[in-house]
Each structure stands twice: as structure tokens, then as C-alpha cells.
Symmetry: C2
Subunit: 315 residues, 2 copies
Amino acid sequence: MVDLEQVIQSLDWHQEPQGLYSPIEYTLAGGGKRLRPRLALMAAKMYGGEDLALPVALALEIFHNFTLLHDDLMDKAPTRRGRPTVYVRWNENTAILSGDQMLIEAYKQLEALPPKQLPHILHIFNKMATEICKGQQLDMEFEQREHVSAEEYMDMIRLKTSVLLGTALEAGAYIAGASDADQHNLREAGIQLGLAFQIQDDILDTFGDVATFGKPIGGDILNNKKTLLLITALTLADEEQLTTLNTWLSAQQGTFNPQEKIDAVRSIYEATGAKKLCENRMHFCTKAALAALDKIPADTTEIRKLADKLTNREK
Amino acid sequence: MVDLEQVIQSLDWHQEPQGLYSPIEYTLAGGGKRLRPRLALMAAKMYGGEDLALPVALALEIFHNFTLLHDDLMDKAPTRRGRPTVYVRWNENTAILSGDQMLIEAYKQLEALPPKQLPHILHIFNKMATEICKGQQLDMEFEQREHVSAEEYMDMIRLKTSVLLGTALEAGAYIAGASDADQHNLREAGIQLGLAFQIQDDILDTFGDVATFGKPIGGDILNNKKTLLLITALTLADEEQLTTLNTWLSAQQGTFNPQEKIDAVRSIYEATGAKKLCENRMHFCTKAALAALDKIPADTTEIRKLADKLTNREK
């Protein structure tokens, strides 16, 4: 069995100039769930080829961490996994350039693939990378826009979050020799799982428990973030609820007690049925993921276990 | 014959979201010499395979323009080729994200290569991309450092500028079936040509003619840029020249007439022999490039013509 964490930690970043490589080592040492490479290895294992998927697993993990590095700079996020982000710890130029190098390092991992498999993997990797950039672009645009529909939001999180999980499963399966149908269904399962995971993330940010969620609750509300909860509530609210919601959305920071805003908006999410609708949508995506897995003749037990863990975080 | 400019202009960037793709189109429409893709096509043509090198030529041009886009942001350069840079015309986040997408687009071009050639090209492309990032990192570090040696400077410009020219020739030759020896010698020629070109750029920025150079003369001097001229002059200067030079280097902007500083530093570059030494070094690199070309049995006329044009810009 592949000891993924050990392999990631043993990647050698002690190269010159250190100013370029230290932030890469720092970012990858930050931990996280290693969800994407684990999915790639899991899918490959189903077809007896876990080891073969290691290059693509590492490429996906490095790529994912590259997106975090650049996204944190674009979003001006001061911390990530309890540590200062790269642009804070070093500076903006370092975050830009080390991030660029990290993207190149992801492509370097692909060099270890069998030559026969490289063209297809390069193709789906490039496609995924493009979709993730599109998702990040839409995410930034949405924050500047007045109105965003639930469908637009779902499309954005599909691009920004889900295709990476879908591609991880698809690529792992391809490398280990899965049929086209299995690759397709695994990809679909990963995408639906990613959507469910992201919607749950929105819900937990507002209704979760600080101890299990790991972040302060209510951050999205305080930042007026256009989550599925807010987008749905704005659609479902009656006139009075809409007035209250808009009053809170336009309230100047510093003129109110943050907890009061969190409680008020949370009540509206419940009263309008937005919370319920988001939960339903999340369960719908989870079911769609499981339905895609049902179509696969190979043993999907491990992925099902992980899916269950990912989409039942509140428990 | 490949109409390179036409092919570059016909790349389709009219995709959604436009906020991601417009800056890519804008950057590539900026013109420039198209030196890198031309070198790749020229090398391939020597072995009868100009068309085959088009994917790698486009990848190199897109990659080069990606580096300009991110470098301009890091260097806070307001204009490029007479137009506002992307971070000025749009904003910093757009420059970061569209630049990332441009890097991915470079890799996408490689998908069009014959599967058999892809592994080797991906390898040399990744190696080149890494070296260019290292060069940019060193360039930024040097500007913060007190002392930089001529050797360190030469190594930096080799990484930042020259390996891209060397790789263009090498990759074009490989794709068209050149021998390993020819690939090696073409790479060497490209690297030496790149060094000569960069040193000449330093010289022209100080001693050039504004009409032919296309930029105001003396910019490097006014910015205290650690060019080979300055690095060399600091080594060669006698006590009096050193005092004068250091006085100008530490003079507060706004307290002197810019033309006076340009004239004074220029005089020291001449009096110390720094100008002469840089010119010699440039001619040495040009000769080394021609010597590498001499070893190649194939017809190198076109590359020699281009080399002559590139290294005789003052005429």
C-alpha cells in the first residue's frame, strides 16, 4: 500500500534558489486531507494498480495546493490551516512566482507516467486545470455582481471544486486500466461528491459546530459571501424577510454586533426554508454520486466509506 | 511555409468567462518579435519539418508571454510594448489568474504533438519553465542585494532569458528528427545568442539611440538596475570613480537632474572600461553561438542571419 503522506513529505524542495522553493515546501507541509491524491489512488486500487497512479496523485495534490496559494493571495486570506498564508509569511511576489513554479512542478510529476498514458492524462489534466481557473474567475466575478442564480452558483462550484475530485477518480481509474464506462462513472461520482461537499461546507460555515468545523462559524454571513444559502434565501424570502436580509447585507461593519447579524441571517435561512433546500440539494448530489458508483462492477467500498465521511461531517 | 503571425492571431480566445480570456488575447496581440517560436520553426525547417514544430512554437510563445504578464505585475511595470500592462488595464487578481491560465494554455498546445515525441518535449519544456522561474527569482533577489558578481549576473540572465531561446532551437530540431549532437549544438547556440542579446540590451539601454532602441535611454541608470555595466564598473572603478558612482547610486530622486546622472554614470562606464568589457563579453557570446552553429552539418543560414540582426541592433 502507498504511504501517501510519507511520499508527499519526502518530495525534495531543498533546491536553489531557496526563495523559490521554501514556499512550495511550506504549502505542501500544511497538511490537509490529501483528498484528491487519495481519490486517485483509491480508484486505481479498484483495478489493481494503486502504485501506478502515484505520479498523477502527486500532480493533483501539488496542483491543488498551487490553487490554494494563488487563491489565498487573490482573496487576501491571512491564514490557511492555522498558519499565515504565503503572501503574508513572505510577500506577494513570492506568492506569485512560487505558485507559478508549483504549477510547473505538478506538470513535472506527469513525466513519470508511462509514455503511452501521458497524452490522455495531459489532456484531462489540462482540461481540469482550465475549468478550475474558470471557476475561480466566476467566483471572483460573482462577489462583484448584484444577482447570482443558484444554477450559476452550482456551475461555479462544479468548476472550482468538483472537477478536481472527478478528475482524480477518472485519472486513477484510467491509469489502472478501467473501462471507459467505469472512468466516466467514477468521474461523475467525484463531481457529485464535490458538489455535495461544497454545499455542506456552506451549511457548516453557518450552522456547524466550531469544534468539528475547525473555523469560526458565521464567517460567510459576516462577509456577505454569496453562498448557496444566501442565494436561495434571497429567492425564497417574503417582502419582510427580504427587507431584513438586505438591511443586514448593507449594514456597515462596526455599526453592529457580529453575533447579532449571524443570528438574524441564520434565522432567515431557516424561516425561508433556504437551509432545508440546501440540505436537500446536498443529499441529492450525494445520492447522484452513489448512483454513479452503483453502475460500476468493481469494488467501490472504500470510495463509499470516504463519501460517507465527507458528507456527514456534522456528526 | 508557416505564417506564424497569422496562426498566433487566429488562436481563439473568445471563450467564457471573458474576464479570464480577454487578458490572454490582449497580451498575445501585443506583438513583439515572435523570436522564440520563429527559432523553433527555423530549427525544424533545417531538417524539413517546419510544420511539425508549430505546437511547440506556439507553446513557447504563449509561455513567454505568460512570463511577461506575471513579471510585469511583480516588477510593477506600467507599460509593455507601448500599452498598459494587464494588471494596470485590469487589476492584480486578473493578472495573476489569467497568467495562470496562460501557463496552462502553453501546456495545452503540447497536446497536438505526436504521442511519441510528447514525453521528451514535456521534459525539456518543464526544465526550461523551471529555469526561467529560477532566473526571475534571482533577478528579484539581486535587486535587494548589496553585491552581485558578474558570474552571478550571467547565470541569472542565462536562466531568465537564454534557456528559452536554447530550448526553442533544441525542441524544433528534435521534432524534425535532428541528431542528438545537432540538438545539443543548436541549444548551445541559442543560449549564447540569448546571453549576447541580453548584454546588448543592457548596453543599448545606456548607450543606444532612442529611435532604434524604442525605449528612453538611461532607464537602467536612473533605476540603479544591477546591469552587467554597473556590476563591471563597480569592480573596475578606482577610488575616485567609486566615490562618484556611489554618490549617484545613493542620491535621492528629485534632488538631481536625471540627464546629469545618466551622463555622469555613462562617463564612468566608459572611463573604467566597463563598456568595453561588456562589449567584449557580448562579442564572445556571439562567437560562441556561431562556433556551435559551425558544428552542425545542416544549413544554418537562416539562424545566422537572425543572430546577426539580433546582435547588431545599434546599426
